[in-house]
Subunit: 175 residues, 2 copies
Amino acid sequence: MITIESLKNAIRTVPDFPQPGIQFKDLTTMLKQPDLLKYVVSTTARYYQQKGITKIVGIESRGFIIGGALAAELEAGFVPVRKPNRLPAEVYRKSYALEYGENTIEIHRDALNPDDVVLLHDDLLATGGTALAAIDLIRQFHVREIHINFIVELDWLKGRDKLTPSYDIYTLVHF
Amino acid sequence: MITIESLKNAIRTVPDFPQPGIQFKDLTTMLKQPDLLKYVVSTTARYYQQKGITKIVGIESRGFIIGGALAAELEAGFVPVRKPNRLPAEVYRKSYALEYGENTIEIHRDALNPDDVVLLHDDLLATGGTALAAIDLIRQFHVREIHINFIVELDWLKGRDKLTPSYDIYTLVHF
């Protein structure tokens, strides 16, 4: 039987990636296993089944994988949040601070509308900077509701504190 | 009723992106529509249902969206092919020529095994350079079969000629 513990055991920790001192959580070792990928998608979809989600917003790149699967499973549309200059039409843009330097993300201006109930999805919640910037982008559309979902959350980085109490967050695996 | 023509009409053409003279096919206007996304996933999955696919290999970034959905739908694993230095463990690497300069893609060395029946997926087939490089990466694992799938194919660029007759290609929408 597959459990949350099976997922946890299938995730590989890579020391010092992408830089010294970081213990990188590598989900590829989990996603390549058909039964574990299916469990992630169906368990997450079950949680959101009754919430009337109309759009999954997935964060480039790793948030596209299970984000796309959730869109199909929940019969929602899929909207990408991307790195700069990759979306071809008019965008909203948001820059945010990193430990060193800054990042920018974009969303198409015709991606969402006020009737949408949005599920923001990324593979992993660390400090929460990217998720918060993505929420800022989504808020520009005055959508009805924003829900937030991750596969993995690194509890000790307290990214959740940046996002609650305004938003409900559902995460499958906690480290 | 949704047809291939509905998909075609929902795809936006953006002139001169990412550079002058390119007529960019923007699939975001299709993927944001729940019924069209569902049609893409279920029609493609139906085509591969009896082929015993064990792994979907998706090409970063846009090949992750429907690639992830196909993995869940076909109960296969998902394996990413990524741009350089983004995969944290040991990789195989392949460089290939572009019109100007070159590109490099990578796959984890533990991503596939000889028992796998692989479905390589990307959103769009243009000249076929990236798909051919991805096939070279997959061939290193000596997998049982390689199938290839795109949502959109730009027929006049003849990318298909680079990939056949060795491989069967299934594309939903032709321009």
